[in-house]
Amino acid sequence: MSKLYLCLICIAISFSCLGQSILSKKISAQYQDRPLIEVLDDLNSKHRLNLYFKREWIPDQNVTISLDSTSVDEVINQALKDSGLAYLSYNDYAIVIARESDLKKQFSQDYFTLRRTQKEEAETVVSVDNVVTIGKLSNDGTVRDATLTGRVSVDGKDEPLVGVVVYIEKLNLSTTTDVDGNYRLKVPAGNHVIEARILGFDPKTQYIRVNGNGRFDIAMAEEAIELDEIVVSGVADDNNVSSVQIGVERLSPIKIKEIPSFLGEADVVRSILTLPGVSTVGEGATGFNVRGGSIDQNLVMQDGALVFNSSHALGFFSVFNPDIIKNVTLYKGNIPAQYGGRLSSVLEVETRDGDYRKVKGQGGVGPVSSRFTLEGPLVKDKLSFMVAGRSSYSDWIVRRFPDFRESSVFFYDANAKLSYRLSDNASLSGSYYRSFDRFKFTNRFGFSWSTTTANASFLKVVNPQLTLSSLVSYGEIDNSSFDTESVDAFELNNGLEYLKFRQDFYLSYFENHSIIVGAELINYEGQPEIIRPDGDRSSIIPEEVSKDRGRELAFYINDEIEVNDKISLSVGLRYSRFQNLGADEVFVYQPGVERSVNNIIDTLSFSDGDVIETFDGWEPRVSFKYSINSTSSIKASYNRINQYIHLISNTAAAVPNDLWQVSNPHIPSQKANNFSLGYFENFKYNVWESGVEVFYKSIEDVVEYRDLADLILNPALETELLNGTGTSYGAELSINKKKGKLNGAFSYTYARRFNQIMETATQESINRGQRFPANFDKPHTVNCNINIKLKKQSTIAFNFTYSTGRPVTAPTSNYFLGNVVVPNFSDRNEFRIPDYHRLDLAYTFSRSKIKKQRYQSSFTFSIYNLYGRDNAFSVFFQRDIESISNAFKLTVLGSPFPAITYNFSF
């Protein structure tokens, strides 16, 4: 077990520690009669020593140390005095503490002798492939020493393996792989057996013939053990406490697939909805709301490309293929200065590179859609490809219902990525993405919407202090809606194009400073809103309403500073500037009276490229962390953010043909001040995480809508929009258990969002100028998900969610105008639909991950809405035969939805 532990910590070490010359580092240590384990913990957290030890090895003894500006070497020696423990420096950036006897046994000169004996005793069967020839013979045929280099990675994953012992027994030569999985051995020319070992992986043995200098890479297969015990992560275990950032949530693809989902489809956005501070207005609603923000206030990116509609099938699924995701990060508190343009959050979805070493595939078959990903090298270790696709066959299901024979609910998305390693320090990648949705009800009406993006990015590590990253991204969205019925048959289109350039410089010239400096330019081109008649009989007159163009430019700098052991700062400044550009015609309204089409007194014409209006602003971003001790910290942040593009949608849930509109002389930029404060504490060596955060956000020039506004094909759109202020505030409590057979997360969020639209000379008020809850104001949200590993191959997961019903404007009475029965409505959003709650379950059974078994598969059986809660999707009003309106509650998914999904990889 001790070796297992050592190997595991070796892996952890390699990914979490970045310091140099650790034993010579000068530190101060003052401890008076303190338990040794506390002293070690304290040293670890205060000085980031990367001490690794097994807690049961630490004797129950107290130590006293009083040393100023002394080397780590000396401090640890004194701490471990008379403890029976010893330490060793691991690759000069971590310190392993273990029993003296164990260390001697494992790492003495006798180590390989001992290993050989053990090996013989155990008669371990090792894999022996064909002989590999390395290097070229010298011209004169003489035999000489050669340098053997290579990289050890996880078989099939291209993940570097750190701390692997690579050795040639008969020569007593050994080394270990570094943080990138690389090793270097000086060996005499000739025939050898090279071996690589690390716990958790099957040992690898290979006959080699060394002729000269050369490269030999090793791929190691995972053993048939519970791999969850090995956590390979670029993020420290105590990141929630130690990081200076507040309000950052990270989801791994594994986590996303663990969460029970609707119809068994692993889904990024639905996973995000289980996080504190994230909510949605209803089942099947597009997008998500973060801390009382509207859906257009989330900056959603896939590999840096902007994603304007994150939903398939009106919001039941999201547009991200879970099989190609590397990381998902949600910034909802402090948004560092390198991000901007949206007021509430940043959702960054990173896709991984295709495998550089071998061709692989994975996919899944579910009740709604199937997906398949193929990846592999085009030039081994240099150029890789990945293509992935998902397509629904829900059309087939929908058409089983007699009433929907001509209906369609279809979507697909496709990703393609090429990644090229120019050198050890530079890489280039290009990606293409397209998603498409069609939603058609019989032959009468429907929608379609699509997103296309193309990216090229370049990363270069110039030197250890300077890395540069460049991105060019192009994207377009096309929305279409159609109605084939009778005299009004039409097809309506709108869209948006953008072109984005981004250049970042990562600087680490100064000790304890991590600086990012960069610039970003986005050019938005609103596509005209066009209506055409559908068929000869249609009375619709073709019409085109042009949409605005704009250019958003931003410069930013952000510095993460470790002031001392306790205090860290993230200080950033962003300057953003937006220009609304011609060609365009801008209406001039009569001053001092309510803006309406009847009050247009002039029209100003602007030529192509003319600057019509400019908005700009400085956006300071500050985040502060104070570590109370090694397991707890307090953090606070302040952000100011400007937003220059807005989703024009006055329905409770956005519809696919909603417009994206850039700021113009009549639609100012939205501005927000975000404040966050939090306390974070971890327990049981970071197995348990907890956090409490409060937040407050004030928004200027929030976009609201006149009562009964007409937004479609409106050339004077501004006459339907109102400006006001918004306020959101709330608190989040979260408790996570990250490891163990039973793990999971619980969160409670209290979040409010109010808007206030006052009457001015040029606009009417809403609710007589009193503040009112926004459509997505849902004060209480509880999320709880639990994963239980039943045995090696199976997991059962539960997910429970509860939230307050969303606000709604309800009819309070009827009246008559002649024959017309008119319902009279309450103030805007005065009432609420019933509260929402739901329990989901998922059971996953997978085959053990055995090395020789290339084909891996698993089944997931899930039940969405286990107890069949008939949650209100909406409350609506329908007239009876006497034309009297009555209220009804609509439930979309009001019964349990079971599903089986089959996933595979090879």
């Binding site: 009819p811 009827n814 009555n886």
Partner: protein
């Protein structure tokens, strides 16, 4: 375009489970509702005063005992006469509707005084004609079967925006058919009734954006209905179209009423809202008063059908056969039926 959104709502309604729902705290405040107008036509003009009924209830609460007075911009005024049941009538002795003049009403109910915002009566905008077309339409059902029905569509030809007039147009359509009974014994008398067709109560027809800037409109589809039941078409069937020219403010008001009356309140609908009219409480401007008092002008155009004009549709005589309908023996039973022939009916 709104229909697209309604349709989206519809698909969700189809797919989901629907059950009645009650807003527990939604209480009716019994707001004042005013409906009335003054037009250029001779005769009486009426105002109806009522209060909002509970949501889901069918009867308005009429307000008796109010004092209603109209004022014009020449300093004239005249008090309405209460006819009962919340209906008040203007005889036009001192104040008559004249295009170009401005009018407002004051209403005193108990201690509260309400006043309408002044409205200037627009010029009359005469319509050229209305006419109809009959067409058979075939619908392919989801089951794959075809179903054919005959429809009648009413079209309008009209100049738009003649000098000085407004493009704010609203149309009301009235349908009246005549029906002749079988000989009634013992005197073998035949009665001819003139029977109004209950109009679709939610039918609000307004000129929309396509009228702005146009000189005239030809073949504007006012509305369409199926040719059923046959008794409505066995004799002459009139479509009386009232072309109402109204103020900008009134046009916006009716547009909003049109939205609210047809809105369903689903997740894909814009938030509904109370529609504030042009009447306010003089002492409490924050009080929400519903309804509208308008100064408007009206022009009437008509068309009628006969069985021969409906061909190729064949009207089956409901009194000819073994099982004649009740109307064949007593045509006075439908609401509004009268034996008095309207003046425009002809021979």
């Amino acid at each position: 375009m709104r229909r697209l959104i309604y349709s989206l709502a519809l698909i969700v309604l189809y797919a989901g489970c629907v059950e009645p729902f009650e807003f527990s705290s939604a209480e009716n405040e019994e707001l004042l509702v005013i409906e009335g107008s003054i037009t250029q036509s001779t005769g009486t003009h009426q105002i109806m005063l009522s209060r909002t009924a509970d949501f889901g209830a069918g009867n308005a609460k009429r307000i008796p005992g109010a004092e209603v007075t109209i004022f014009d911009d020449l300093g004239g005024s005249e008090r309405y006469v209460e006819l009962g049941a919340g209906v008040y009538s203007l005889r036009g002795e001192n104040v008559q509707g004249v295009p170009g003049r401005t009018y407002f009403v004051e209403i005193r109910i108990g201690d509260d005084l309400y006043r309408s915002e002044p409205e200037t009566m627009p010029l009359v905008q005469p319509a050229d004609s209305v006419y109809f077309r009959v067409a058979e339409e075939t619908e392919i059902l989801e089951s794959g079967e075809e179903r054919s029905d005959f429809f009648i569509t009413i079209f309008l030809d009209s100049p738009i925006n003649p000098e000085g007039t407004s493009s704010n147009l609203r149309w009301q359509i009235e349908e009246i058919y005549s029906f002749v009974t079988l000989p009634i014994q013992p005197f073998n008398v035949i009665f001819t009734c003139y029977i109004p067709v209950p109009a679709d109560p939610q039918r609000i027809i307004l000129a929309d954006g396509e009228f702005i800037g146009s000189n005239r409109v030809d073949g504007f589809e006012l509305f369409k209905r199926d040719i059923f039941p046959p008794e409505q078409f066995i004799s002459r069937h009139f479509f009386n179209v009232y072309q109402i020219s109204q103020t900008d403010r009134a046009q916006v008001y009716w547009e909003d009423i049109q939205k609210v009356a047809n809105q369903q309140g689903t997740i894909f609908d814009p938030p509904p809202a109370p529609v504030r009219g042009n009447v306010f409480n003089v002492n409490n401007p924050d009080e929400l008063v519903l309804g509208y008092f308008s100064a408007q002008t009206v022009d009437t155009v008509r068309t009628f059908t006969t069985p021969g004009l409906l061909e190729p549709f064949v009207v089956v005589d409901p009194c000819d056969g073994l099982d004649p309908i009740d109307l064949c023996f007593n045509c006075r039973t439908p609401q509004g039926s009268t034996l008095t022939r309207p003046s425009y009916w002809g021979d």
